[in-house]
């Protein structure tokens, strides 16, 4: 059940998996980037487990969303912060929840506007499936199946936990 998701153990397994992945691929130098806001929290938590102290990149993908004409502009957009050029760098891209893949697509588009990375590896805390684009994570905390009217949200930054809401579809 969703409530039994142990975020700490998910984070720790993500850190182990990421270290293994980096070793296997001979990647010694890399940069960490989180998608705001949940992805940044996850990146921080994983980084802490790895005893890594690099400055994180933070992406706000508001200007890159593909549903602008449907939902408009996020009223609380804040500047992206990339304290390094991604040019020729191995980027580990973090998000909290992966579903359609559209957010990751937007984040990749944004990253490329800063420079051309050597590679991008996707790390997510929870993979809900239901993909609409050919995007798949390399590092996954946990897979989870929700019904169509269940929505999941990561709450943080302290004591990271998931809030799952059921929305009754009484209106058509």
């Amino acid at each position: 059940m969703p409530n039994k998701l142990n975020i700490q153990s998910m984070i720790s397994s993500m850190a182990t998996a990421l270290e293994k992945y980096l070793k296997q691929h001979g990647i010694k130098s890399f940069e960490l980037v989180g998608i705001r806001t949940g992805g940044v929290w996850v990146a921080h938590a994983v980084q802490k487990h790895m005893n890594n102290t690099q400055t994180l990149g933070e992406l706000d993908i508001s200007f890159y969303r593909d549903d602008f004409t449907q939902v408009g502009l996020n009223p609380k957009v804040s500047p992206s912060k990339l304290p390094f050029s991604p040019e020729d760098k191995h980027i580990i891209l973090f998000d909290d929840v992966l579903m359609s893949g559209r957010t990751v697509r937007a984040a990749m588009n944004e990253l490329f506007d800063y420079g051309r990375p050597a590679s991008i590896t996707l790390a997510v805390l929870v993979d809900l499936g239901r993909r609409e684009l050919p995007i798949y994570p390399t590092i996954v905390g946990s897979e989870l199946t929700l019904t169509k009217n269940e929505h999941i949200k990561l709450v943080g930054p302290d004591n990271l936990h998931f809030d799952i809401q059921r929305i009754d579809q009484s209106t058509p």
Binding site: F68, G72, P75, V77, P79, D113
Partner: protein
């Protein structure tokens, strides 16, 4: 003039015609969004795909270089297609050319019009008559308003001073002919500065100015004391009808901002000017180029503010159109 026309039913921006009637929250949202666009301007690739596929028409019934080019640059950085139309109003009367023009606009199927016009209220007039879904941004109408200029000034002030609280701001010069000053006064008071002063000779002051919430000074030396932000206005020679001033030399002597006079303001006061500058008429060259001057920051911020306003207005139009379609489906 009513401002509700520029908001959606949920209070989001859908046209940007004037700052008057807009809440502190909404003005702050414009500034915050612009901050994010400033960051975009520092990247390798300065374009974002937000308005890809949209067509924006710069409709300038009045000459402008800086405003038109920053609007054009802003639209291009949002990945919109841009069309610049410069219309001389000399041949036909202004009313006629505006309504004639409107019919043509309808035929162009554009998504946004950025309008500058010598007649006050022109942008409102167009906003009232365009097809739903089309956003209007006021790039200056007569003596009435120049809201994007005012907002880029607010962005510059917030950047340099951190916040608006406790600030004393002086606007100096030709207030009478200045749409910029009217918009600035409204924005400054909405955002909550401590005090707005205007400094000018009586002949360059509109009547009942105090009702806008400003303190009026006729002497530059008195008005500059304790000031955090000095906003100079251009002496609008082309709008000057009749002998409102004895001479430009006389004006410079009394109201020109010199290094000496600037010392009366706070030591960390910033100096702003919407441009174009008349050096030696309203401002000494050394002050315009000096280390307290933030005039070029204003120009850079102009692009970010215009990107913010255009994307927010387009977003509001989309929201309104979607809402209207839902309403009809019911």
């Amino acid at each position: 003039m009513p401002s509700s026309i520029q908001l959606t039913s949920t209070g989001r921006l859908k046209h940007f015609l004037t700052v008057s009637g807009l809440s502190k929250d909404l003005l702050t949202e414009i500034l915050d969004t612009a901050d994010s666009f400033i960051e975009v301007g520092e990247r390798n690739i300065r374009n974002v795909p937000l308005l890809r596929g949209k067509t924006i028409v710069n409709l300038f019934f009045e000459a402008s270089t800086r405003t038109r080019s920053t609007f054009e640059l802003a639209a291009k950085r949002l990945s919109a297609d841009v069309l610049n139309i410069n219309i001389s109003t000399s041949a036909t009367s202004k009313g006629e050319s505006l309504s004639d023009m409107l019919q043509n606009l309808e035929a162009m199927a554009s998504d946004m019009f950025v309008v500058r016009h010598a007649q006050s209220g022109a942008a409102h007039f167009i906003a009232n008559s365009v097809t739903p879904g089309v956003a209007i941004v006021n790039a200056g109408d007569g003596w009435h308003a120049h809201p994007t200029q005012a907002m880029l000034d607010m962005l510059t002030i917030r950047q340099k001073k951190g916040s608006f609280e406790g600030l004393k701001v002086a606007i100096i010069g030709d207030i009478l002919h200045s749409r910029v000053a009217r918009s600035q006064i409204r924005a400054l008071n909405t955002l909550g500065v401590d005090e707005v002063r205007v400094i000018a000779p009586d002949t360059l002051l509109p009547k009942n100015l105090e009702s806008l919430g400003v303190k009026v000074f006729n002497h530059l030396e008195q008005g500059l004391v304790d000031i955090d932000v000095v906003i100079m206005l251009r002496l609008q020679r082309e709008r000057m009808q009749g002998a409102l001033l004895p001479s430009e030399q006389e004006y410079y002597k009394l109201y020109g901002l010199t290094r000496e006079k600037l010392k009366l303001a706070k030591a960390d006061a910033i100096v702003m000017h919407p441009g174009p500058i008349n050096r030696g008429v309203e401002i000494e060259s050394e002050v315009a180029d000096g280390n307290q001057s933030v005039i070029l920051d204003q120009v850079t911020n102009g692009i970010a503010i215009r990107m913010a306003v255009m994307s927010m207005a387009m977003s509001g139009q989309s929201e309104q159109v979607n809402d209207d379609a839902m309403e009809q489906a019911r």
